[in-house]
Symmetry: C2
């Protein structure tokens, strides 16, 4: 009966959308059919795939929760010989749970409730969910599968270990919605390998892919065997469908002979009172034709990985919000140039509209370089000089401003005229406006609220200036020519809002600024800790002061794509009213 | 030795500021001195008074936590014969706790860690704090005082009961930072009375007062005796200092003779492993001169209560952020008129600057009524007609807009010109810009992003249109004349952005709209549940669709003062990308 210990399993790495109950249901049904056609015994979908992740306060609407239970019911009725594990919101005695359903042959065979609820960084799961307290092991044709959800597998000596050591699980399935940041894949891969090796278990890790507001889920699902060897991995930032045959006889043999496993197993202190066992008597199984060897998709290098995260984040935000086209100002600077490249790559060049809006303070290059860039990208470029409008404001304000010197008010005025024009086109043609500012600027408030901060989305909000350069150079490298004109890359950064203005008049050089910002904003370091990097104390204090003083601007900033361990937005919840200034 | 069971206790209801470690320290020292001068044995300060509440992600900075421990140390050194209980952030083995310190005679006698951490509505305490697990009873001169923090007293059969039934506490001290909404005081008072009666204990409830971003803490501290009778209550929305003498002999006599108490006590199932006991040997006590009878401050009626919440919320936001003066557009409508009255009352009329910015679509009343209102309030009114600027935009855009009909783009253009002018004055004179929109408009998106939504703060963000009328009428009633001109109150609501425009062209009448919004936004009701109120189904669906579709605007809205159980902001965390539309 050796064959009965074999199982063919599929991971459906699909792009689900928050709130799209009908669309998500159809996507699950598509995956189930595909798995069936491929002779799979089991198909697995990511965490909360029915609602999309994170559904946030939609979860406080009882109607929403019930509607998604109706979608689950509909799926259940269409499941037959291919079993299915999928994420949904369970409702029991007035409480809701982040849950995994086991569906088979028209019925709901079991439900697992997520035990470890993350409530840090961008996560608020304690706000909504009750925590489960019972691990679950599903047995199909004698193969024992421990089910867990995302965070569960990150906590040591908890759910997966209980399922293996006490529940006899040979396969660990984890359904996830794990958001991307630089280096996250490597962290996850190390974790999965460690879990596989420690537990002598097959690990099937299914991660959501797709963009949702400030988050990008990168997919990169993983299948790792009991030796910690990678058998299959899904695409980054794209749909995938991984199929793998599992033979648990090898796992059993390994466990029986491995003294370390036996002693780990005996020494494990199970924190849970009970483990739920779910049985499926199954007849499909035992494929005669083995499925082709599982695929390992290539990894991107770091710059391409970030670039692709930005593409997916922008594309999904625009399209899932019902837009096709975007509009923004091209200043002739590097930030808007990179946004133009990203938008063209993400949405197609015919869907990108740019405006150059020079004043008396604009360098000649600001228009010429924008024209060249627009030609290279094949995007629409409008020229709207704002001098007359600027003059009409100044005339009206003359009796009020009197003889006060030209200053911030006049500078911001130009940025706000531009923002107003971008929005006029946005409103007229239903193009989504994009804000082009980068993380370094947004950090220190070197941007005009209601001016260049105007936009429904800010693709570079979490991309520092040094990363803007790196991504631009890499994009040109891939193009094989100066797609982004070298003159734009070489230009000394300037807002061009007064004569001879340069960013470095107000800020430290970006390569130093970005080091301070990473240590302060992302790592919460103190001034002394940052000084240990060899940076001048007064410079650090000045930068930190700028960051603290511009919280009010960020509170009204457009959402943007998180690519670092700590982005602005719900990842960094600072009070606006805040008199603390670090010394 | 009967006198030894007497204690004189003070509640310091002070306005602490988030992050102002030095200012908060000085405020605590002021309260300690005042208590000492009044012969008090003990003085009590609110929850997290050292950091201000809520400190949000400041708590993730280790330097901040350490700096506030330094402030605590400084206070401790200055405490002598008057003991002190105050809220601070404790740091133990890398974890932080929402804590209460007991200080006496230069030393830290004990620390209580909050056990019940709220993580719903505006609260995120699980994000930061470890939960405590040990109630604490402090004994001063034989009087036993159970300490708890805010949420602890709201959970049945938890901290206060354990302190009384198992720890012998006769007095329950609760230090709070409980934010205001309409009706909150009554909820709190009922709770405190219930706790006092059930536990046959004196309850001393100290609540923070002051504004912090979107929250207003109303104070209204309470002292209730063992029969549930109110002995003292603090001002709403103002500083107060309540002193009360406690005689626990009466409590002991009552408990000894009360069979219900004895049986409750025996039947109580203590959820905690241990209760910490802290002793203070004290010599002050036993006042010869009894303090004058404790005061009960009068309650406001509901409309005055809301109005005063708005005054405090606005005043503290403006001043704690370093501003003195404000600027906003006066449209001639009721919303900006009410904001003008509130701003004058909160900041003084000399600190209020308004601008009337008519176009061809403005009614003659819009300017005349604004002039009359400004005269009544004694505030500054600038007249800046925007016709020329509007024309200069239209000319520039003519080749782009071509023959497309006048529409949303042109309407929003006017609102954005006004927003730009408000910001120009804000930048030039360092006046904080205010957005004047109400909750009804913000709910359905009947407002222009970067236009009338411009502002550092939005005083009416949580005030529905019907409440705007109610507050305006009440303000006139208190003034004894039409401070807000009757013509403004009677005017049919209009944005005046195109000829003969009326709000009711796009929206249901406000008295119906507000009912739908309250049920949907605040109570999370379904369409069927709202329909049960007798409202047309299609109208409900249309309104809900507007609410759902304008989430992107609210994401970039200025903060405003929460006065309802569910305000926009961190109280309602909806995804922007969200395809769910209720049916």
């Amino acid at each position: 009966m050796k064959n009965q210990k074999k199982l063919r399993v599929a991971l459906a790495q699909y792009n689900f959308t928050v709130g799209d109950l009908n669309g998500n249901r159809e996507l699950v049904l598509r995956g189930i059919n595909k798995a069936k056609t491929s002779g799979c015994d089991l198909v697995i979908f990511p965490e909360l795939c029915l609602t999309g992740y994170p559904p946030e306060d939609l979860l406080l609407s009882r109607q929403f929760v019930k509607d998604q239970l109706t979608a689950l019911q509909n799926i259940q009725e269409q499941v037959n010989e291919t079993a299915c594990i999928l994420g949904f919101v369970d409702l029991k005695e007035g409480n809701i749970y982040n849950a995994a359903a086991v569906l088979y042959s028209g019925s709901l065979k079991g439900v697992y409730h997520k035990i470890q609820l993350p409530n840090y960084s961008v996560f608020d799961e304690e706000r909504y969910f009750e925590a489960g307290n019972e691990p679950l092991v599903l047995t199909i044709n004698g193969v024992r599968i421990g089910i867990s959800i995302c965070e569960d597998i990150w906590i040591k000596d908890s759910v997966p270990e209980a399922e293996v050591f006490c529940g006899g699980a040979e396969v660990l399935v984890n359904i996830s919605a794990s958001p991307y940041y630089i280096g996250k894949f490597q962290e996850r891969f190390e974790l999965i390998k460690t879990q596989a090796k420690r537990n002598r278990a097959f690990v099937m890790y299914n991660n959501l892919f797709g963009g949702q507001d400030e988050l990008v889920f990168d997919g990169q699902s993983l299948i790792v065997n009991e030796h910690g060897e990678l058998l299959a991995s899904g695409w980054a930032f794209a749909e995938d469908f991984l199929i793998c045959d599992i033979d648990v006889n090898e796992i059993r043999a390994l466990r029986d002979s491995d003294n370390q496993f036996i002693s780990d197993s005996k020494g494990f202190n199970n924190p849970f009172k009970s483990i739920k066992q779910v049985q499926i008597q199954h007849t499909l199984s035992a494929k005669t034709d083995p499925f082709p060897k599982p695929v390992k998709r290539p990894q991107f290098n770091e710059a391409d990985e970030v670039y692709n995260a930005l593409l997916l984040g922008l594309r999904d935000y625009v399209r899932k919000n019902g837009f096709q086209q975007v509009v923004f100002g091209l200043s002739g600077g590097i930030d808007s140039a990179l946004v133009a490249a990203i938008a063209s790559d993400a949405l197609g060049s015919k869907n990108v509209h740019c405006i150059t809006m020079p004043t008396r303070y604009s360098s000649s290059g600001s228009v010429d370089d924008s024209v060249l860039l627009a030609n290279n990208l094949g995007i629409d470029l409008l020229k709207l000089p704002i001098e007359n409008i600027f003059q009409s404001y100044l005339s009206l304000l003359e009796p009020v401003f009197k003889d006060l010197p030209f200053g911030l008010a006049e500078e911001n005025l130009q940025a706000r005229i531009r923002g107003t024009l971008v929005m006029a086109l946005s409103n007229k043609y239903n193009w989504m406006a994009l804000a082009t500012g980068n993380k370094s600027e947004v950090s220190v408030g070197y941007c005009t609220i209601y001016g260049d901060m105007v936009g429904g989305f800010a693709p570079l909000k979490d991309v520092s200036k040094m990363w803007v350069y790196r991504l631009s150079r890499r994009r040109n490298e891939r193009a094989g020519y100066d797609l982004i004109p070298q003159s734009i890359i070489d230009k000394i950064p300037s807002a061009e809002l007064r004569p001879d203005q340069k960013d470095e008049d107000s800020l430290p050089p970006y390569h130093i600024l970005d080091i301070i910002l990473e240590l302060y904003v992302e790592d919460n370091k103190s001034i002394n800790e940052i000084k240990a990097e060899g940076i001048d104390r007064q410079m650090i204090k000045d930068v930190i002061r700028l960051v603290d003083n511009s919280e009010f601007k960020r509170r009204q900033a457009a959402p943007g794509i998180k690519i670092t361990p700590r982005a602005f937005g719900k990842d960094r919840r600072m009070p606006v009213t805040n008199r603390y200034r670090m010394k």
